[in-house]
Symmetry: C2
Subunit: 152 residues, 2 copies
DNA sequence: CCGAAATCATTGGCACAACCAACATTGGCT
DNA sequence: AGCCAATGTTGGTTGTGCCAATGATTTCGG
């Protein structure tokens, strides 16, 4: 074996400093925390996004949900099926436009959403544990600037 | 339609400020840039990781590669097959330990690696375009602190 | 020294996110 | 009326990160 080889989990220097690598790894950690946190309460990532949009913007069509949450239309259908089965949202045909369904969040849906909010806040805290409040804010601002640039 | 609904890509406030959301979206942008950049030169993400480890640590076994790059052993096999087919790495049985293959990077592999380095640097630049050099460094430091915490 | 346990390369498959294609129905425009 | 766009839905594809099992080989405990 090569003497220079740390042998262990010594990540190559070429990767260690690259933002794309760091973001990729951070996403891995974040996803793991999310999926284990959400899995414990029997939901998946899309569910939260949809409930959040419904709670904030009020009843709307599935196409609107797809646009505001970035979830693909076909995935919206599947997620809404699961949410409706648990009575967390209500699907009703729109009388004015018979192509559309009007989706609205139920009282149980709102309760579930606030419960998920707590779960999610706990996850943020574990994810950013080594950072101070100021540093967390810094990270949020920097990422937000990057994203805003790539969305326009 | 609800009057409060931006209708457009108005992301719910619950999501907009959450680090996990920002990281998730940043990963989406990063991945898109990477896959289009790497795709243009006919490689995939794993290839770069393996070449980087081989160039930095010298010849080693596939299991060592798996450990240093975080790539699963089974995926290392597949990626090395493709790299060996292009003569970018060499697979040789290890005489001292007949379970192992000794993997080494070729001259062509090093050339490919430096070419990919340039591609990758360009991608970092496009990804972090709206940030100053100091801010980029800040972002790297913050993410690195977070990751170091979750790897130990 | 010998059997048990660990290590290595390899094959195969699984789950999940993200996306895309097609389609039938309905609405709006001219 | 006639054409184009939007909607909900079904079904499929791709890529990543995993995990399980297996045969060959080495290492370790007693």
């Amino acid at each position: 074996m090569n003497p220079a080889a740390g042998g262990e989990g010594a990540t190559p220097a070429r990767l260690r400093k690259r933002p794309t690598w760091l973001i990729n790894r951070a996403h891995g950690v974040s996803y793991k925390l999310l999926s284990e946190g959400f899995g414990a309460v029997g939901t998946h990532g899309y569910h939260y996004r949809l409930l959040a949009a419904l709670a904030e913007f009020g009843p709307c069509s599935q196409a609107d949900l797809a646009r505001s949450t970035g979830v693909d239309g076909s995935d919206v259908v599947a997620a809404l099926n699961e949410l409706a089965e648990q009575r967390l949202v209500k699907r009703a045909p729109d009388a004015a436009d018979r192509r559309r369904n009007t989706i609205s969040i139920t009282a149980a849906g709102r309760r579930r959403l606030t419960a998920l909010d707590d779960v999610l806040d706990g996850i943020q805290d574990r994810l950013l544990a080594p950072l101070s409040a100021a540093e967390r804010q810094q990270l949020v601002v920097l990422l937000d600037r990057v994203l805003q640039h790539h969305e326009s």
